[in-house]
Subunit: 214 residues, 2 copies
């Protein structure tokens, strides 16, 4: 048994509780190494369950990883909806949004740490899943920028590139918040300045014709 069987708990509830415990255990174990470096048996031990019980919930560690990706991005996207809803104007966008992102990282550190690691070092399927999610977010940001009218001088291609630039930067910032939580205030202050530098670029940039040089 994973833990004490609680009173009046249905079979489905119990299964879900064990499933959660497995996800949390994997998150904790991968925290100081890597998904590819931990074992099914370690996870089972941490949960307090026999190794074979793992298979009742996930076919493999890789599938467990995909479930963690799913879970992480579900919560991330909810936060982003919130950010974009309260971002009518650019300066407010920076000062308003960054702290919300920072707070979300703080409150979901293990998920962000997982994503940061597995994004580059995870099993190929996991990497792909993460890349896909980030791409979706980038596209959403692009349509949001276009809709806001803040970049009317941009071609739609270049709005995409700008969105990618912003997302890449925020990903980098989130990685830093994850692995040095104590410097959150400084990291955030620097990121604010940098994002402003970058967006000043946005306001002064003009899209060229497809052919390159000006």
């Amino acid at each position: 048994m994973p833990t004490e069987p609680e009173d009046g708990e249905s079979r489905a509830e119990r299964k879900e509780r064990t499933r959660r415990a497995i996800l949390d255990a994997a998150l904790a174990l991968a925290a100081d190494s890597n998904l590819a470096a931990i074992s099914l048996r370690q996870v089972a031990k941490q949960v307090g369950v026999v190794p074979t019980a793992f298979y009742r919930h996930f076919g493999s560690l890789e599938l467990l990883g995909l479930a963690l990706v799913d879970e992480s991005f579900r919560s991330l996207r909810e936060m982003l909806l919130d950010v974009w809803r309260h971002a009518p104007e650019y300066t407010d966008f920076i000062d308003g949004s960054l702290p919300i992102v920072a707070q979300h990282v703080r409150e979901n550190r293990s998920h962000y740490a997982f994503i940061a690691r597995e994004r580059t070092a995870g099993p190929p399927r996991v990497r792909e899943a993460i890349g896909h999610e980030i791409e979706l977010i980038t596209r959403e940001l692009a349509t949001d920028i276009a809709r806001s009218g803040a970049a009317q001088q941009y071609s739609s291609t270049d709005i995409g590139l700008l969105a990618d630039l912003i997302v890449s930067f925020v990903v980098t910032m989130a990685e830093r918040l994850v692995d040095d939580p104590d410097s959150e205030a400084r990291t955030l202050a620097q990121a604010r300045t940098q994002l402003r530098m970058l967006l000043v670029g946005a306001l002064n940039w003009r899209s060229r014709e497809p052919a390159e040089r000006a």
Copy 2:
């Protein structure tokens, strides 16, 4: 024996040859997973040597990892010296530098892949070593920007932030080149536009007093 013992080879030469073979084998094996996920025995097998022979060259896989970091950055820094020597002016800086970086990534793919992975997912010591190297490069870029006089309106703090912004962006670009080499041309073209967007920001930005808002 790692391979056929070559004629007229000194003991030192032979040792170096085996050492190289170990480094290469580790690089190759870590390529489709992670340093923390490969075993000393796999490395030894790939080299064609008995597991215990490994210890004649490295005390542990982690120390091997540190050697790989060292090796990767030594070559990277040589390239950067080359780039900065031929970068008198900003527009030339972009068009001239990015292809050199891309070429270096192409020619040293396994090193870059290693760095990209271990930077976020490696053993703590390895992560630290990589972070330290990147920080050094950022500082060098900052002094170079200052010396070039291209950002005279910047405070030295803000020059540091700009350098960090550029380095972070190039790191991201290098990661993309690594895991999708076939799209090099497109990735490069996009990066060129994005870097220009960013630097237009640089030219229009003014440092503020330490206190934030304007």
